[in-house]
Amino acid sequence: MILLLGAVLALGGAALLSSLASRHDRWARSAVIAGLAAAAIAGGTLAWRTIAGQRVSDLLWSWPVPGAAFHVGMDSLSACFLLLVLVVGCCAGLYGEGYLAGSHGHIPATPVRFFFLVLLGAMALLVAARNAFLFMIAWETMALAAFGLVSCEHGKPEVRKAGLLYLICTHVGSLFLLALFALLGRNAGSLEFSAFAAAPALSAAERVAVFLLALVGFGMKAGFMPLHIWLQEAHPAAPSHASAAMSGVMIEMGLYGLLRLLSLLGPVSIEAAFFLVALGLITAVFGITFAMAQRDFKRLLAYSSIENIGIILTGAGLGCYGLAKHHPSLALLGFAGAILHTLNHGLFKSLLFLSAGAVYQAVGTRDIEACGGLQKRLPWTCGLTAVGAAAICGLPPLNGFTGEWLIYNWLLRPDPGHGMLFSALAAAALALVGAFAVAAFSKYYGLTCLGQPRSEAARDAREPSWIMLGPMALLAALCVGIGLFPSPALHVAFAAAGDVAGQARPAVSASLDEWSRLLGAIGLLGAGVCALSALLWLFRGALLRRRKVGLGPTWSCGFTAPTARMQYTGSSYPMPLTRVFAAALATREEIRPPLGYWPVKASFESRTPDPALERWLPVLTAKFEEWLSAPRRLQYGRLQLYLLYVSAFLVITLLWKL
């Protein structure tokens, strides 16, 4: 456990050092890199040992605050998330140095470094916390650090708006968590996690309350629909490496919280499990549908995070179902799918955010319509984007497929019993999500990186520095690596799932061996696809060697002068689908059609606002505000009225209570 403390302290110390050395950029940078490296080594060692099955004894120090104890511990679930924090955090942190240097002072380096490291440190502590008080401290520190990152470019109004929204959401979520822990604490008589686990069973009403509180509290962070409202606003506002850490790791902490709670409190009811699965699917379908319709590519990525969270939640819900049905292998499979997808999502989403940041820095805009043709200018960045995009669609030779495959296997398991129709429909929904993801990410990758540049800026874009490319390449390599050799990652996921489902190692490893064998085969097949492609590539090369290979403009059945403006756009590409879902998306379009015989100007503009944020929430808040502003006229400014309040209150209280 000293290793964990070491990692947290290294990150915290680096945060302090880097802000102390704010005048000397080089020193600050070295502090960051040194801190990240130290944390990675210390935390990585610890996580690895834990997953390998070594027992790490808890660290318990008394803490003179009511209910608190400095109690940290490590099990596979913690270790799995710690690993994610460190891998993504270190890549993003390293990239961040290049990103900050490349921003030419637009982003204030000192607070970004500070908050970023604090964010990582808080998350590392969070996953190890074994006391609700400590957990909340780490949770809130994480939330506040992320807030600092979101609003670091606060000169822009939309950033301020996003920051405010994020802060409100996260705080409301925290309040729910406080209530949750207060309730659990009452039952257990202590805020220790172990006491929660050992406490007498909760009453039915309490169970419902705990479930709802946890769902809202953790769901607000994870971004379950419709609690996701902050997500698509905050992610574009933060610097890209921060978005990567937030989207790749921080929102997963909400799921960690849920899983941790499950591991402590045991199974939820069948209905709750169904509810979780349904919520997960709704979230996923919602997220990807809106992702498809976005123009701002960081918003697109943010919505896709909502989608992936939905998939993960689906897996977790399936695990819960297994627990509720006392079906250990199903529980294990569901949780393992969720956790594996969490790991995978952390990797490819941070890769995508990092590459999006590189594109943003090169082009200066987040508008897909202003990009295009970048693959020629930024070959590495775009190549890595392609890997990330394929991975996030869950396409086979990459890691995205592995987790989803486990979940599919759960859903389509040939096991007659009730709920099979639901399972099959869930699988169909998942398939829909997968297909939409292909649409969304072929749009993202195809329209930003391929084709012709749509703006001057895109034409003059430059490849970022190696310090940005390196971490991206590492993440991409991990995506490919897990796709081809899924066993190690599967091992981690199953070990963690065993902790959630409360199963002993031997039972877990039996399951693990079975799935590991199958996924290993899939990895081999993936390698086969790669090899086959390579063979075909060589074959074509051989065929063409003796032939004439010409170069020319795009033919397209004889378009004589294709221009960049004639390319398919971010709005038109998904239009066949967005039209089908027009009622749900409510895309706002402003069309000025070409008129007259010699039309001069015509334009088309579309924007898809978030329904929860911009359509449902205002209805609620308007009512609420109206209701709240009613008493405001009481503070009318007249002293006589104030005196009246006192007197009236006095007389009424006397008549009532005396």
Partner: protein
């Protein structure tokens, strides 16, 4: 002797301030007096002094907590005043300085008195001495605020006096030992007190001191007085002067609890607590003036204090802790808000935005103070607010817990909107140069000191403090005094 020093030293300093003729040197009396006062208080922590003046003066843990809070806040604020008054050269600081000292003296009197009448006198003195602080800016707005403050304060203090009389009447027939308003005699014969009179006494004291403390619906002077007074006066008003009437209510509660009326008193306190929070929520949403917002936040936290005490022993412990935390955090907020106010020359969102560029340290402190006061770890108010929540949940008061959580959320939303708009963004006219008016060394050292304290208490409650708090909470809820 020690009581004489506690009250006499600030009194003497105040008189001296009236006598000294130099505007430049007079403020230095404040840190001097406060340091002496603080060291005496520190000595009290070492060993609680025994009773004096026939038992009229005696400090117990409850009083010691209030006294220490006052002493510490005065010490820090007096340092702030040095720089602040140097900036306000256009105006004589004679009355300001003297009144600050007088407030400390009267607060000390409130804290150490065991006699409800004496306590009331101290309170009245504090009310009067604070009026010139509110009026320090000498403009129409501050005049209006002072007028309202005085009228409401006087009404409250009058009702509190009536309540004190009720308390004495509850003790009739009196056997002649000591004085009927002496707390110890009230407590020792709590069983024989006349319950209707005691109930009446509690209601009157609650309304009377509640007006001073600013519980809704008795709070209406607060936004005006806090909004128009200088930041440092706001810190003193919100941090220290609210603690005194709270102590008064606690004393009344103590008697009620001893007499077996705790359910009655608790129900009133819970009701007023939630009402205060609800009122604050309604007014904080959409508040454009950040100093008024702080005033409403003070209303909210007074409500939390009342609520906490109404929730029984665990809640009382948390409420007392929250009294300290709230005081210190209000110190951060009001002092930094004062700095921002000065840096922009305005205290509404229309005048002041982008404070992070104009007065970086103050703005950061303001932001952190906001985060702290709304109950985020790792700051101290989190500990107390969480404990109050736990107390309500532990007591199976789910309605109260839900109301508490919901109102905290609404208040957070309102405050966040105002605070972020002040702190973030671009300053008016895009003038991003840091302003000397905002961040001068002593004026950020003071809120920084408060900040340090709330971070410390958020992460570490020293044993002596916990002991004192739990003794005081036990005492409140019918334990031996």
């Amino acid at each position: 002797m020690i009581y004489l020093l506690l009250i006499g030293v600030p009194l003497l300093v105040g008189l001296l301030a009236l006598a000294v003729d130099s505007d430049e040197w007079r403020p230095w009396l404040l840190p001097l007096g406060c340091t002496i006062h603080a060291s005496i208080v520190a000595a009290c922590w070492r060993m609680l002094p025994g009773p004096a003046m026939n038992g009229w003066l005696r400090i117990d843990e409850l009083g010691l907590l209030v006294l220490s809070l006052a002493s510490a806040m005065f010490l820090v604020c007096s340092v702030y005043c040095l720089e602040y008054l140097r900036l306000r050269k256009e105006r004589s600081n004679r009355l300001f300085t003297a009144c600050l000292s007088f407030i400390l003296a009267s607060v000390s009197l409130v804290a150490v008195s065991r006699h409800m009448g004496l306590l009331w006198i101290g309170m009245e003195a504090a009310t009067l001495a604070a009026a010139p602080l509110v009026h320090f800016n000498h403009n129409e707005r501050s005049l209006e605020a002072t007028w309202k403050y005085l009228m409401m304060g006087s009404l409250g203090i009058g009702l509190a006096l009536l309540g004190t009389f009720f308390l004495a009447l509850a003790a009739i027939p009196f056997d002649g030992r000591g004085d009927p308003l002496l707390l110890d005699s009230l407590l020792s014969r709590a069983g024989t007190l006349s319950l209707p009179w005691l109930k009446g006494a509690f209601i009157f004291l609650l309304v009377g001191y509640g007006t001073k403390m600013g519980l809704a619906p008795l709070h209406s002077w607060k936004p005006d007085a806090y909004g128009e007074s200088p930041g440092v006066a706001g810190a003193i008003l919100a941090g220290v002067i609210t603690a005194c009437p709270f102590l008064g209510i606690l004393r009344a509660f103590q008697v009620c609890a001893a007499a077996g009326l705790s359910a009655f008193a608790q129900s009133l306190l819970v009701m007023m607590g939630l009402l205060s929070m609800a009122t604050a929520a309604a007014f904080i949403i959409g508040q454009r003036d950040f100093k008024r917002m702080l005033a409403y936040s003070s209303v909210e936290h007074m409500g939390i204090l009342a609520l906490g005490v109404g929730l029984g022993p665990a809640g009382s412990f948390a409420a007392l802790l929250h009294m300290i935390n709230n005081g210190l955090t209000k110190g951060v907020l009001f002092l930094s808000a004062g700095n921002i106010h000065r840096a922009f020359g305005g205290k509404t969102m229309d005048h002041a935005h982008g404070a992070l560029r104009r007065a970086p340290v103050s703005a950061a402190l303001f932001l952190l103070g906001f985060v702290a006061i709304t109950g985020s770890p790792p700051f101290a108010p989190f500990v107390s607010e969480f404990s109050i929540l736990r107390a309500s949940v532990d007591g199976h008061r789910s309605g109260v817990a839900l109301g508490f959580i919901g109102l905290l959320a609404v208040i957070f939303i309102g405050m966040a909107a105002t605070v972020l708009s002040v702190v973030y963004g671009l300053p008016p006219n895009n003038d991003s140069k840091p302003s000397a008016q905002g961040d001068s060394p002593l004026m950020i050292a003071a809120p920084l000191a408060f900040m340090g304290a709330i971070v410390f208490f958020g992460l570490w409650l020293p044993g002596w403090l916990t002991t004192a708090l739990s003794n005081a909470a036990k005492m409140l809820n019918g334990g031996a005094s």
